[in-house]
């Protein structure tokens, strides 16, 4: 039940609703719980409602952190050899 994934807002429909793309499946969801969600933004969708907007910059930053950790490991290995 908790399984929810980020989805991109593709179209704003009736007030407070939007069509999102969930891995290729288009679905209408409610935006009642988030403010000012716009087309192109990512939201966490759960039981038909956007629970929160996904911060793209923070997502990119987390991915960069993972990548950096990878590079650090390589550096460490180089230093050890």
């Amino acid at each position: 039940m908790c399984l929810a994934i980020p989805a991109r807002i593709e179209e704003l429909t009736t007030p407070g609703n939007a069509i999102v793309n969930l891995g290729g499946v288009r679905k209408e969801i409610s935006l009642a719980l988030v403010d000012d969600a716009a087309v192109g933004e990512y939201v966490i969708v759960h039981v038909g409602y956007a629970l929160q907007k996904l911060d793209r910059e923070e997502a990119e930053r987390t991915l960069e952190m993972f990548a950096e950790m990878g590079q650090l490991d390589e550096l460490r290995e180089e230093l050890n050899t």
Partner: protein
């Protein structure tokens, strides 16, 4: 898919695993509880346990809404459908939870009860609008993620003057359950929590601060993708090594300290605390669940149909209770995988794919024989 696949990179997972293996002190054990069923599912599905050193052990917590719903609550819903003739709407996972008299909502449906699986509270409202001559009850279960959508539906029903719609409210609270685990008699030896993902998008990271400050247990809030979980485990190992107990947030892309204030306000308008609520596995826990405020009493199915809660003990052979408290593992239950399977669940942990037993049955049970 954007921001999903990127967090499933196998090479990066190995990197984080290498860091965990390097940093975990071989002289000690790290017992980490993932509270949330979504994490249990991710850990089993992506084989995360296999990437961890033997002294880093994940303990499944009670954070699966279906698993913590006691039999008596499902019985109430079945009574509404069978004796009061209502259209009973609920989320799909709930229909298979075993109830009394060898029934479940699904079996009640097979015997003629009008039980309908819905995806969203919006669907339940639509059923009510489309059937003005029938009473429609939504069995509202779940933690802080499903509560705001129920609140929206109640306010909508009130605004529309929808007289044939009500809810059987079984919404429960995450921090209260975490308190109950830490206060459990005999105690669960825990070194830290992987904090819930989507619950935290709603309530924020602030409500976990007492677990770090008062109980000295580190909490790292993590997203549901495998890399998120691995990174959170690494952050917990580091806190334990440093002797720190803090609330850290790995899931900054969706979780802030304050959470979703709009959702919190809606919930506060519609619901208030229940004095006492019985959980499967944790027993009766004060202030751990919600009920509708008197203002919305007309939408409360318990009052409208006078269906009282009657406590029903679990099947004696079932170890769900100990598993939900983190005291036993699925494979330590005598009926696991024999009498109790996902096709024929005896206990609730075997019902939802996020339950500890179902997750272990689907993804982990061959690990031990391999």
């Amino acid at each position: 898919m954007k921001y999903v696949d990127e967090f499933r990179d196998g090479e990066l997972a190995k990197n984080i695993a290498a860091n965990i293996a390097r940093e975990a002190d071989p002289k000690r054990t790290y017992r980490l509880m993932e509270f949330c069923g979504g994490h249990t599912h991710a850990i089993s599905r992506y084989g995360i346990a296999d990437l961890l050193p033997a002294n880093v052990r994940m303990i499944h917590g009670p954070g699966c809404p279906v698993c913590v719903l006691p039999i008596g609550r499902v019985d109430q819903a079945i009574r509404l459908a069978r004796e009061h003739g209502v259209i009973l709407c609920t989320y799909a996972d709930t229909v298979r939870v075993p109830a009394s008299d060898n029934l479940s909502l699904m079996r009640a449906k097979a015997k003629g009860a009008d039980v309908r699986m819905i995806y969203s509270t919006q669907d339940a409202l639509k059923v009510a609008r489309d059937n003005p001559q029938r009473e429609v009850v939504f069995l509202a279960i779940g933690f802080e993620t499903t509560t705001p959508p129920t609140a929206v539906a109640i306010q909508q029903a009130a605004a529309e003057g929808l007289k044939n719609f009500s809810i059987l409210c079984d919404h429960v609270l995450t921090p209260a359950a975490m308190h109950a685990i830490l206060a459990v008699e005999g105690g669960v030896a825990l070194d830290g929590f992987v904090g819930p993902a989507h619950v935290s998008t709603v309530i924020g990271s602030k409500p976990y601060e007492p677990f770090a400050d008062d109980y000295g247990k580190p909490v790292v809030i993590a997203g549901f993708e495998p890399l998120d979980v691995m990174q959170a485990i690494l952050m917990l190992v580091r806190q334990v090594n440093d002797g720190r107990a803090e609330v850290e947030n790995e899931f900054t892309r969706a979780v802030t300290r304050e959470g979703n204030l709009k959702a919190q306000q809606l919930v506060a308008e519609v619901f208030e605390l229940r004095d006492m609520f019985e959980w499967r596995g944790l027993g009766s826990v004060p202030d751990s669940a919600l009920k509708l405020r008197p203002k919305y009493a007309a939408f409360d199915a318990e009052l409208k149909f006078r269906v009282d809660y009657v406590e029903v003990p679990d099947n004696k052979a079932c170890e769900c209770a100990a598993i939900l408290r983190g005291q036993k593992r699925p494979q330590e239950c005598k009926i696991f995988g024999t009498v109790c399977t996902p096709e024929n669940p005896v206990g609730s942990c075997m019902v939802s794919s996020e339950g500890a037993c179902a997750a272990h049955y689907s993804y982990g049970r061959f690990r031990e024989v391999a």
